[in-house]
């Protein structure tokens, strides 16, 4: 079983890491790059497949050379065997379309130069772009079946089919089970949970973790970088030139006004009446609170 996980480096939006300037614009230089949080589920799905069926998992990402660290993080946390970075100045400022063209070329090049791919895993939208388009667009170029919003996955390596549970339209209450032949493109939902109900699977998982820690320490030895020449891409169709999306400006979202009012009441027994009195206007509903209490 040969799988590829597509991943992207994004600004670390977590509290304490992210940095904004006075106008509320993201300070990219001061904010560290991390693996897109949703991609975690894609790598978990790839890992589950590897643990259950063996094989090889490669990570692939498009981005500047600094993204190698993101692939290292992926390697360490999800036990990648090796990684491929599609990196070239010509690729800068790609929108989802140009990115999909590039990733598609990456996958084709991988099939030509490395091995035939059985499964491609991608996460559900990135934390910085939030479009959810790149995965499906990349698959469209491959002309493979695609299964999105996957929350559970079972691969039959002999029959070369997969069976997946997916959320219908992202609705958590409605789950359908679908089957698809390999090779196949799988987009995981943030609800995806790997399951390991066999002791042997858990022992394999533990073994892989130990092996990967060694590998991640020397991740550069397991990294291949491809530029637009390696990928056989025409500079007119990639990067800024190949991107039909034009961002005119970015406006910060104004903060919602919030006002809070607190009344301290000593919780003596006699004061419960006072509490009730204070709360009465809210209990009645409507706007009796005059904006207080949010």
């Amino acid at each position: 079983m040969r799988s590829i996980v597509l991943t992207k480096g994004v600004p670390d939006f977590s509290e304490g890491a992210v940095s904004f300037d006075e106008d509320g614009h993201l300070e990219r230089g001061k904010t560290p790059t991390v693996m897109n949080p949703n991609d975690e589920f894609a790598v978990q799905a790839a890992l589950q497949t590897k643990v259950r069926h063996g094989g090889h998992v490669s990570g692939m990402s498009m981005g500047p050379p600094g993204y190698a660290e993101v692939l290292e993080e992926a390697m360490e946390s999800v036990y990648l065997d090796d990684s491929y970075l599609l990196s070239d100045r010509e690729l800068a400022a790609s929108d989802t379309w140009a990115t999909a063209i590039t990733l598609n070329a990456g996958l084709e090049t991988y099939q030509e130069q490395v091995a035939e791919i059985d499964l491609v895993f991608a996460g559900f939208k990135t934390a910085d772009g939030e479009t959810g388009q790149t995965g499906p667009q990349t698959c469209w170029g491959m002309d493979w079946p695609i299964v999105t919003h996957v929350i559970a996955l079972d691969v039959d390596s002999e029959e070369r089919r997969l069976r997946a549970k997916r959320l219908v339209e992202g609705d958590v209450d409605e789950i359908e089970t679908v089957e698809a032949p390999l090779p196949c493109f799988v987009v995981t939902d943030p609800e995806f949970e790997p399951t390991y109900r066999k002791a042997s699977h858990r022992l394999t998982h533990k073994q892989l973790r130990a092996e990967t820690q060694e590998r991640a320490a020397n991740h550069e030895e397991h990294l291949t970088t491809w530029d637009h020449v390696d990928l056989n891409l025409d500079p007119d169709y990639i990067g800024l030139d190949g991107s039909p999306t034009i961002v005119s400006s970015v406006d910060p979202i104004p903060k919602a006004p919030s006002e809070r009012e607190a009344t301290m009441i000593d919780p003596g027994e006699d004061d419960m009446g006072e509490v009730l009195e204070e709360m009465h206007p809210f209990a009645a509903g409507g706007d009796a609170g005059t904006g207080a209490g949010d």
Binding site: K198, A199, S200, R202, L203, K206, Q207
Partner: protein, 560 residues
């Protein structure tokens, strides 16, 4: 998930629990080339374990832990015990006896240990060894019962994994072994069969420890305490030196705790705040961890035939915890038992009789003398007269009379008493009555003791603070204990005896409440399992359905 036999996983041996007993069994099985899977419910071995804790290597034992695990003493232990004393306390008067002779009897070495460090080290070694024969250690997996086929035990069932078949199942799942209870080999019925221990691990700089206990390199101290420190509750206290901390605790007969309605954490505080502790604790007291554990009394519950079908019990699960007066040995017997169970399986491997290994194991326990240490025949004989209430009362009256006081109080008896305490033969006959625990030590303290003039300003943390410092991963909405009978008669004892509950404390597991029911007032007991330290006390003293939390859930000890 399939439970079909065809598709079921099978290992030659499944070991449940990776404490010293499970680790010894697994290591020895691997040495015999047996494919061995070890399942541990903690997030790491040791995270669910507590002991006093001293581990012994006995000269007479067929196996010791450093036989099985090279480097154990250097890597996993704290300090060797080179100084061993007992303090008899009567009020502020304390008489100390040197117990080195007793301590060194049959002892190759003895080390103080902290279980998180020790067991997690063992887990690594066990995983290395068992990986070589096709198995390994898995953490965060709770085995919840026995898998049976046509009424015969053939494997285990787990919360996290599909059922697993095995030719040998080693239940090393501790004092609250769910497997031993599933098999009907052990129960949780009688408080007299158990002790309960609570312990504080106290932070202390290594140089300060050396100074206060007068220790050199590779030296450590063990101190025991008995007498009227704890009023009439039968039990005692201990203090052991670790590398950079002290383990200070108290251990009581559970029936005595229940009878006296004593609060375990207050008994611990009585020891911590006694003036004699001041010279060791100084002015600054920093408690790292509060912990509790149920301890089986091997004299009463060590199972003479700890097996059924392919299941064998090892360590606390089989009641193999020797507590006779100042002798407290558990982990060493678990190690011996684990290794013997593995040997028994190795020699009977391939035998069609599913009980062949179990029978051989019981015989090895007997032949190696382990069973006689756990259930000494001398105790059985002495107990028949020693523990009858009338005898106790008569002895008590004599001891308490001027004659008794002179007998115990004269200078000759002082020397004799020290010798008696150091006699393994006499100690093994000590009856479990208040005479041995309270009356004799307090008369000794009173008659021979020196009055302690130090003062102590130590304020131990409150129970609320102690619970607040513990780490929990709560299985929200899935409590592992259910209260079957909420009446005070059935379950009220838990309000006192539970080490994380107390009367008039709302933040513990058990509390009592007055409710008005059809106009009449009634006291009922309620339960919140969130602060539970999984000691098992309430399984015995209250009417509950008791299980361990799922793998990785519940309390996580950092020291243990």
């Amino acid at each position: 998930m399939s439970t079909d036999t065809a598709d079921r996983e099978h290992y030659e041996a499944v070991v449940v629990g990776c404490g010293p007993g499970g680790a010894a069994a697994a290591a020895r099985l691997a040495e015999h080339g047996v494919e061995t899977l070890v399942l541990e419910r903690g997030t790491e071995a040791g995270s669910k374990n507590v002991s006093g804790g001293l581990i012994y290597a006995e000269d007479s034992a067929p196996y010791t832990i450093d036989d099985l695990f090279d480097g154990f003493r250097e890597e996993a232990a704290e300090r060797p015990v080179t100084d061993y004393r007992i303090h008899n306390v009567a009020g502020n008067s304390v008489k100390t006896y040197d117990l080195r002779d007793l301590h060194e009897h049959d002892t190759d070495w003895c080390e103080a240990v902290l279980r998180r460090r020790m067991d997690s080290w063992l887990e690594q070694r066990v995983h290395e060894k068992t990986s070589e024969t096709g198995g390994g250690v898995l953490t965060n997996v709770r085995v919840n019962g026995l898998l049976r086929e046509d009424g015969e035990i053939v494997g285990v069932t787990c919360d996290e994994l599909d059922p697993i078949g095995a030719d040998l199942i080693v239940a090393a799942d501790g004092v609250n072994s769910e497997l031993a209870r599933d098999a009907g080999l052990m129960d949780w019925e009688e408080p007299e069969e158990w002790f309960q221990g609570v312990k504080a691990v106290v932070d202390m700089d290594p140089a300060v420890i050396d100074d206060r206990f007068d220790l050199g390199e590779d030296e450590g101290a063990a101190h025991l305490f008995s007498g009227d420190l704890f009023e009439d509750v039968r039990g005692g206290g201990f203090l052991y030196t670790n590398e950079d901390s002290l383990s200070i605790g108290t251990v009581f007969h559970l029936d005595s705790l229940v009878e006296q309605q004593a609060e375990p954490h207050q008994l611990l505080d009585a020891l911590l705040t006694h003036p004699m502790m001041a010279r060791w604790l100084g002015d600054e007291y920093a408690e790292r961890e509060y912990a509790a554990k149920l301890v089986p009394d091997s004299k009463k519950v060590a199972h003479p035939e700890p097996y059924q079908d392919r299941l064998v019990l090892v360590g606390d699960a089989a009641g193999q915890m020797q507590a006779q007066g100042p002798i407290i040995k558990g982990m060493n017997h678990a190690v011996t038992a684990g290794a013997l169970a593995a040997d028994a399986f190795a020699v009977t491997r391939g035998n069609a009789d599913p009980e062949a290994a179990g029978r051989r194991y019981a015989k090895l326990l007997e032949d190696s003398g382990t069973m006689d240490k756990l259930r000494p025949r001398r105790y059985e004989l002495a107990r028949a007269v020693g523990e009858r209430e009338t005898v106790t009362n008569a002895v008590e009256r004599v001891l308490d009379s001027p004659v008794g006081r002179v007998a115990l109080g004269n200078p000759i008896s002082n020397r004799l008493l020290e010798r008696a305490y150091n006699s393994p033969f006499l100690v093994s006959m000590l009856p479990d009555t208040r005479t041995g625990y309270v009356t004799v030590p307090s008369i000794i303290g009173e008659q021979h003791g020196r009055t302690i003039q130090w003062e102590t300003d130590i304020e131990p943390p409150t129970l609320e603070e102690r619970i607040g410092e513990l780490t929990y991963d709560t299985d929200v909405g899935n409590p592992h204990i259910e209260l079957e009978d909420e009446s005070f008669d059935a379950s009220g004892a838990a309000v006192y005896a539970c080490p994380v509950s107390a009367e008039d404390f709302g933040g513990g597991c058990y509390r009592s409440e007055e409710v008005t029911h059809n106009g009449s007032e009634e006291t009922v007991v309620s339960l919140d399992t969130q602060p539970c330290v999984e000691c098992g006390t309430c399984a015995i003293v209250a009417d509950t359905t008791w299980e361990h939390p799922r793998g990785g859930k519940g309390v996580e000890y950092r020291e243990g």
